[in-house]
């Protein structure tokens, strides 16, 4: 089921990219809808909240722009697509093809990110036009590491949602479980505020969860804020391995329960 070849990967990506290009307007709108970090930046700077953190306005605006970019390239919706496909019986033909069905969804996400990239870039240009003082040029090394970290963040979120998606084999509405994850992701990931700004009590345990590694960690790398890159990447890898093992287990148990609804 996992026998991936370069030809399979290439064709899957090409096909999904062609498909995503059919929805370019929709993707542009999704890109625009991801501007929460800019609103948060506005709230922070207008209320002087950053002073208590000892972080300058410029560094904060760079952080939120980076958070915007990380968010753009780590958005995951696999649970919703899988649930719909399972309910409508569209998953059945995928299950009897010699490729794991989740590779299709994975390719869909990557293709969507590639389609989204130019729109995100345009939004960033506008950001710099209105905030010229925030303009910075990260080194190639920083860009490379932040790209890896963003990809890891995407992998963690993809695996979490894939595990939840597998609950479709037991209950038809698996996406309701995703709602439980959505709130902590929103508040603890660093999308609304840098994790550094959280109360000490929250900081004492939040780093033991995967949430700060979804937005805060990659955004801090890209914005060149202080961060321990090596240990952060290691923690991301540990979460990926852990969630991957859980996914394998849940998938193998769940697919035995598949009732091929709507076939």
């Amino acid at each position: 089921m996992y026998n991936l070849t370069p030809n399979k990967i290439g064709t899957l990506l090409k096909t999904q990219y062609s498909n995503m290009m059919e929805y370019r307007v929709e993707i542009a709108l999704w890109a625009i809808s991801g501007v929460i970090p800019f609103f948060m930046l506005n709230i922070w700077t207008n209320n002087g909240l950053n002073e208590s953190l000892n972080i300058s306005n410029i560094m904060l605006s760079r952080y939120f722009l980076s958070a915007f970019f990380v968010r753009q390239f780590s958005v995951v919706w696999v649970v919703f697509t899988f649930e719909e496909d399972a309910l409508l019986g569209r998953i059945s033909p995928y299950l009897i093809q010699p490729i794991h069905p989740f590779f299709r969804y994975f390719a869909q996400h990557i293709a969507e990110q590639i389609t989204r990239f130019p729109f995100a870039l345009i939004i960033a240009i506008f950001f710099f036009i209105f905030n010229p003082e925030s303009l910075w040029s990260p080194s190639i090394g920083t860009i490379f590491i932040s790209l890896i970290s963003t990809f890891f963040s995407f992998l963690i979120q993809f695996l979490i949602q894939s595990i939840i998606a597998c609950f479709c084999f037991w209950t038809e509405k698996a996406s309701s479980f995703e709602k439980l994850i959505f709130i902590p992701t929103l508040f603890l990931s660093g999308l609304l505020a840098p994790v550094e700004s959280f109360p000490e009590f929250v900081k004492s345990w939040v780093y033991f969860t995967p949430f700060p590694y979804l937005i805060d960690f990659p955004a801090r790398i890209l914005s060149e804020n202080n961060v321990n890159i090596f240990s952060g990447l290691c923690v991301q890898i540990i979460w990926i391995i852990l969630f991957f093992l859980i996914f394998i287990k849940v998938w193998s148990q769940g697919s035995k329960k598949f009732t091929a609804m709507g076939l």
Binding site: T11, T15, Y94, L95, I96, F258
Partner: protein, 329 residues
């Protein structure tokens, strides 16, 4: 063991646990707090053997268990009990080698990417099955010519008619040259010409590739045209497994004799011969006569009455099978 045997099912059963709900608010509350599940045995201890190259039709009323059996055969469902072997593989393990040999085609269900032309889905399927691009190109050309859909390959799937889409679905499902085909209502919703073309194509595919085809359909023409062997399923049990012809003779041991008389008086007289009457109109009568009595009865009628027209026919297959599905025996 018969070396020609490609499919073997021994005592296969499949049960589902289905929640039941009483009507009204009371029922809703009970359903919410104390949901009750009932076990429903959809397939009960069935035994089937199918040889390489056979085309076998599954017959049964809605909910008889035909589609569940197909789902078990292609590996979508785990059987609750029993032994199953398809070309030496356990389908539910979904091994790549097994998946490369089979294909499932479902009427009204699609695997083609809706917003792209079918050609993109064909190349994607080819890559998934590990077929080189040049080889895929050849196969697409060959199959599209056979299915007569050359022009439609480059139009978005959403712009194709149902018949064109079904042909494209078939091409997508056959691109890896499967040697076992599972077809679930493949002609559902197609017009008469499209149905006929699809049947012709499947027959040709079976002849040229020696593939094994298992088919469920509510259109009796699909079954009579393609299948020499049928398996009747009723409430998850195999009630008949054998030649279609034999089944028809067994179910309908009588022929239909349609007579148009010159006078109404003769019709009245024919009515009183004590034979079973299927249909009676002003000067036309259709009698049901046992096959062994046909000669004797015919001689008698020809001697006695002045006829305008006479026709002997088998009862329509749809009618016979319809009776079988209604009577459930």
């Amino acid at each position: 063991m018969n070396s020609n045997k490609i499919i073997e099912l021994k005592n296969i059963s499949k049960s589902f646990f289905i929640a039941s709900k009483e009507p009204g608010l009371n029922g809703t509350l009970k359903h919410f707090f104390n949901r009750k599940y009932n076990e429903k045995k959809v397939v009960k201890n069935i035994n089937i053997e199918i040889r390489k190259g056979e085309i076998v039709g599954f017959l049964g009323a809605n909910g008889a268990g035909k589609t569940t059996i197909l789902k078990i055969l292609c590996g979508l469902l785990y059987p609750t009990n029993g032994f199953i072997s398809i070309d030496g593989y356990r389908p539910y393990e979904r091994k790549s080698e097994f998946l490369n040999k089979i294909s499932l085609i479902m009427g009204q269900k699609q695997q083609l990417i809706w917003d792209l032309p079918p050609i993109d889905s064909f190349y994607l399927n080819a890559a998934i099955y590990g077929i080189e691009k040049s080889e895929a190109k050849k196969r697409i050309k060959f199959l599209s010519e056979m299915l007569e859909i050359n022009k439609e390959l480059y139009l978005p799937v959403r712009k194709l008619s149902l018949g064109q889409r079904m042909k494209a679905e078939l091409l997508a499902a056959l691109i890896h040259n499967p040697n076992i085909l599972f077809l679930d209502e493949p002609t559902l919703g197609l017009d008469i010409n499209a149905q006929a073309n699809l049947r012709k194509f499947l027959q040709l595919y079976n002849k040229e590739t020696g593939s094994t085809i298992l088919l469920t359909s509510h259109y009796m023409k699909d079954i009579t045209y393609l299948c020499r062997r049928v398996i009747c399923i009723h409430e998850g049990i195999v009630t008949y497994d054998g030649k279609l012809e034999k089944l028809l003779t067994k179910l309908s041991p009588r022929k239909e004799l349609s007579i148009i008389c010159k006078s109404k008086k003769d019709i009245e007289s024919l009515k009183n011969l004590g034979l079973d009457i299927k249909n009676l109109e002003s000067n036309e009568i259709t009698l049901l006569i046992k096959k062994e009595d046909i000669k004797k009865t015919l001689k008698n009628i020809l001697n006695k009455y002045e006829l305008e027209d006479l026709q002997i026919s088998e009862p329509p297959v749809d009618e016979i099978i319809g009776k079988l599905l209604t009577n459930n025996n």
